[in-house]
Structures are given as structure tokens and as C-alpha cells.
Assembly symmetry: C2
Homo-oligomer: 210 residues x 2
């Protein structure tokens, strides 16, 4: 059974909510309560989790620890993932310094930029290397994930290089719809797209207020 990508995208939210409950010592949680924590309907949660077998018992709720373990296993959250960051401008520096990655098992192990002034510098404990050497470096020391924080016109070339090095998961901060082979997953982080998806609702409100 193929699991819809939108369901996969929600699973990390479930895992995060369950981890909070687990820390609080909670043993059981209902789909209603999980729904309230995440602003989803209880029906949505039951449907999403039904893709992964029967975690809950009718009327008794979900076993927090068991469901959390299972989601962590499904999502591969119980292991370490090596990442390479390309582009160490203002955004790249914020990404390098982001403290949310390593507690979740994501570690930036290589950083690349094409600026002469940056190459060889150490930022947040990582020596920045020449983007031109990316394929040589990553073919010797493979990474699981590539993070692309270069300007739009450089992004497709960088993504092609990452794919040639066997990277099959790319977090793309550049404002382009990347072209990749089918077995490569790309997630786009684009605040403008997120904003443009919200103004629709602001506009709708403005119209209805007339």
C-alpha cells in the first residue's frame, strides 16, 4: 500500500507531539487529544495512523511509548543522518548555526561555498570547502542529505552535483523547482511560497468584509 506523501509529511508532527507526552510520563493518548495538540481532526489522525497498522484500541486510545517507537522506526528518527550544506551566505550561516538539527539526529558534516574569501574559513566548527571540490569530497565521504542555500541560478547545478554523489534527499532553500531523478526526494523551504499561500485567505477575508 503506497502511503500518500501528505501523510508522510504529517508523521514527524505526530512523533513530536508523542515525544512531549512521553516526557510528561503519559502512557495513553486519544486521537481527540492528539488532534487538539496538532490542530488536526481526530478522524484525520485515525486515518493517517491506520496506514501503519493498528496502534490504538477502540475507545482506549493509543499507547504513547509504543506508537512513538513505531513512528521513530518508520521515519528513521533513531539514527544519525549526515548532511552537506552548500552555500554559506547569510542564510547558510543561519542554517549552520541552527541548534535544532543535531538533537534530532541531523548533523552537518561538510560545508561548501564558491567564495574565495570563505573557502578554508572555519564556521561553527566546520571548514568551508570549495564548491568545485564537492563531488570529489562527497564521493569519498558520502552524506545522506544535501542542503542547498545558494542563489537561484546556481541551485540546479549544485543539485545535479549532489545527485551524482548519490545524495537522494535534498532540502532546497533556493527559489527553484529542482529537476531530479524519481528516486531523489526534494523538500523546498521557501518563505515566499508560504506567504503567497496565506494571502489567499487574507484576500478572501477582505472581500467578505466588504
Amino acid at each position: 500500500m503506497a502511503i500518500p506523501p501528505v501523510v508522510i509529511e504529517r508523521l514527524p508532527l505526530y512523533a513530536r507531539a508523542l515525544a512531549i507526552l512521553d516526557e510528561q510520563g503519559r502512557q495513553v493518548v486519544s486521537s481527540q487529544e492528539l488532534g487538539e495538540m496538532l490542530s488536526f481532526s481526530a478522524a484525520q489522525i485515525r486515518k493517517d495512523l491506520s496506514y501503519f497498522g493498528r496502534f490504538g484500541k477502540q475507545g482506549r486510545g493509543y499507547n504513547v511509548q509504543k506508537l512513538l517507537d513505531e513512528l521513530r522506526r518508520i521515519l528513521g528518527l533513531n539514527r544519525q543522518w549526515r548532511m552537506a550544506l552548500v552555500g554559506i551566505g547569510r542564510l547558510g550561516r543561519a542554517i549552520l548555526g541552527y541548534e535544532g538539527f543535531s538533537p534530532q539526529g541531523f548533523r552537518i558534516v561538510e560545508a561548501f561555498d564558491s567564495s574565495r574569501q570563505l573557502i578554508g574559513q572555519k564556521v561553527d566548527g566546520i571548514v568551508i570547502r570549495d564548491t568545485g571540490e564537492l563531488e570529489g569530497v562527497l564521493s569519498k565521504n558520502p552524506v545522506d542529505v544535501g542542503i542547498v542555500a545558494v542563489p537561484a541560478h546556481e541551485a540546479q547545478g549544485v543539485i545535479d552535483s549532489l545527485v551524482r554523489c548519490g545524495v537522494r534527499a535534498i532540502l532546497n532553500y533556493a527559489p527553484i523547482a529542482a529537476r531530479t531523478p524519481r528516486d531523489v526526494t526534494v523538500r523546498r523551504i521557501d518563505p515566499v511560497l508560504a506567504l503567497q499561500g496565506m494571502t489567499f485567505y487574507l484576500k478572501a477575508d477582505a472581500a467578505s468584509a466588504k
Copy 2:
């Protein structure tokens, strides 16, 4: 007819692809070609756009200019949106300096932080004000959008303040599922969630390779 949120989220991508075609002087585009530009199926594109009336003629494709104008109108892309940014740490500075907002009509007009050292400083042309003064400032000078780049434990309080000032669109960079009234739209920018949604596929591949 209620338009599903996932469709709304894809419309800015269509607008962006059409703007590129328009700049190239293209007058007509097929759903196939739009699909190739965006890595969607042609059927998906026809279905999404069907929510907004009949833009295309059977077998003739879509009129680029007309469809672009219509999407811009639907999404409110032809006007200026005022934004307030809260949290001027490393991430907040990257957001303040992000050059992709203003060409798309999104302008940061107020910036807030609670650090004594930052209040009163000018960063990228904007004077940083005390987060404690947020409600006073925004009730006099309303904004359309709030951008939240504070640590997780401060985020809900900041979001509540923004909502009290009438902000109904929030871009949330903090790793929390914010609680807001129904008429407030929140989009979460969370690279860890995006990464965790990709490792599922890496894991699936690893398992199938055994």
C-alpha cells in the same frame, strides 16, 4: 465550493512558472508543459486549476497572461503586504536580509526583539524595537503578516500578541504547533520536519536494498 488548502498551497508555484513563461514571451502553455516545469502531472494541474473556472480551452492550452493575471488576483499577489518580524537572532537576521520578499510585494516594516543589546539598533534599515512594545506599535501601525523567529518557549506568547493586534497570517519559524483562532492562518517553516519527512524515503530505499 471550498478549495482544499493543498490546492491553495500549489497556486503560487503555478504563478511563478507562468511568470517565467510570460517573461519569455510565451502566449500559450499546455498542462503537460506546466507539469514538466513543476514536476506535477498534467492531470493534477488541470484538476487544481478547474477550481477557479475555465482558463484553458480543450486541446489549445492555457493563455499564459490571462491565467497569470487571474492567479495573481486570486492570491492577492498584485498588492503590497506589510510584515512584522519578531526575533532578531541569527535566523531573524537572515530573514531581515532575505532579498526574495520585496520583489513579491512582501515588506518587513517592523522588527522586534527582547534583547537589551539589540533594541534601538538598526539592522537592514529597520530599527529593532522591544518585543514588550509589540502590541502598542502594531495597534497603531497594523501589519498583514507576522513572522515569528523566536525560541520555541517564547513563540506561543508572541503569536498570541500578534493575534490580539489583528494579524491573521503568521509565518512561524519556531518549532511549535501554534494555537490560534480559526480565522488565523499559520504556515510553519521547520527544516527538521522537512528532513524527517524525507528520511522515511531514505529508509525505505535502504530496506529494499537489503
